[in-house]
Amino acid sequence: MARRDDPEFAAFAAACAPGLRRTAYLMCGDWDRAADVVQEALIRVYLAWPRLDQDRDVRAYARRAAVRVAIDQSRRRSSREVPTPRLGERPVADPTDQVADRALLMAALADLPPRQRACVVLRYYEDLSVETVAEVLGCRTGTVKSQTARGLAALRVAYARHGGELADPEPAARTHAEGVMP
């Protein structure tokens, strides 16, 4: 059993924090808040560190902790979240298109309930299977399927409202995502 002061924890934290923060950012829309989420998640990992299987469980535990912290925090802050400025008319085609695309995506994500947002991020950013997402969120696979479908439908509506179109996601191109951080 590992001790909490094991240097391996520091190495693990340094290695996985960037990926966790990217996932947390997609779930909360704010890089600073995403860093807070990672901090809290890693504290939970630290507390559980002695009883985690370092080869098997620790990354999954960290991901689960981060997602659950992000869900909790986003729910508490949802009434205050203003992730982007108001979107105007469809932007002209120039380098700012990419900025507008990001703004549109983050605005659309911000409109999703936290668990729908988590399902979308975990399925299509982390490329996790339905079963793994269910494990992360602590729910049934059917719930993941229905929440993901609702989230995608809401995203399509949000894109259409701003003159855009969201293509149907292809099946996951990667199959190795279950055990790694993006």
């Binding site: 695309d101 990001r102 995506l105 668990r115 950013y125 494990e135 969120l137 729910c139 995203l155 293509a167």
Partner: protein, 422 residues
Amino acid sequence: MSADLRSALRDAVAEEPTFSVDAAAIADAGGRRVRRRTRLAVAAAALSTVAVLAVVAVASRPADPEPAPAPPELVRLDLGSADEVPLDVIASTRTTWKDDGSDEFFRHDRLEGLTEDGLVLRNRRTGPSVGALLGLLDPRTGTTDWLPDPPANLYGMQPLALDVDRLVLGVGQGNGHSVLVFDRASRTWQRDIVRIPYGIEVHVPPRMVLAPDDRVYVGNTLENQPGPMRWWSAPVPGGGTAAPEPELEGYDVVWSGPGRIVADPDGRVVASTPAGETELSDRRPDGCEKPRAFPEVVPTTLWAGSHPVVTYLCDSESDVPGATTVVHDPEGGRVFEVPDASAVAADDSRVVLTSENNPGAEHPGRSSTYVLDLDGLTITRIGRGTHEPQVALAADLLLWNTPGPTDSQDAYDVVWNVARLD
């Protein structure tokens, strides 16, 4: 502007600001949390809490599961502070009959449960010479898709899993049990007989639970004994003579995905997940003594998302008579304790509670029904107490029931409602 979602998500994080994690600061924060083990908790003002209780010190025992990684704050909630919020009922059925010996007893129209995709399992019988029909009611349109005749009498039916692709129902009591599985795609039924050894209590419906490995677990006490709870299990499909599950003796058990909770009458609650086992509690809630007549009655357990929810029956002479519900956090966060409340259903973030203490209430409904929102940290009273066991949460819908306007000692009158919660 057409976007591929995967590409858009990756583009959105492509220009991340620099970031480094301070492992030493994390270790310091974690250490402080561990040392808080013996401190008093603070009340959660947003919850209108009524008391600040001592932190539950979760004692570790050698060879037992790891204790919770951080000491939980214990917050007691008061149902009396709940605001009343009437819900928007979108579907309803009602069953009435007078206790006069007529065949009205054989007529009913009730709602049994909610599927994961937001349909309502409806159970209707129109008279003594016909069997009950099951249907899936779409509460948005009011239409019911009646299913082919089920292959068994539905007496004592319990929904075990109402999934997108199948409905799993347990029926029967005593020594004969059936598990009915309806394949929603092929619209076909399958029936498995599960045989339990003679000697178990036949007058009380058993506890039936479907495990993620598709074994049905049947729990009950032995005939004429107050306890302990005993369990048997059998595969579905397959059935046959159920195998005893001695390691579960004296516990209630429930699964959610890969997670499992067991809870015993002494207040020991253990959550098992792929990351390991965690002992969340080793004692009953303060002021909730075991019922003297049934000291081995097990608590009832539910999962509310990742939160184990445990309801204890309390002796009528306890400081807290009736029942107390405890909502645990397996990550070591706050623990909520709700006196005078039984948890009867839960989804990922909500728990339906009924109050037990019912002085002066009309026969036989409980006094009130509440929804505890674990994310918004609110309790709302949604109306009178339930009359029947059918209560469910799924797909942002709530199914519950209340005594109807003519319900009395001489007349049965129950209304089942479905409301949207989002």
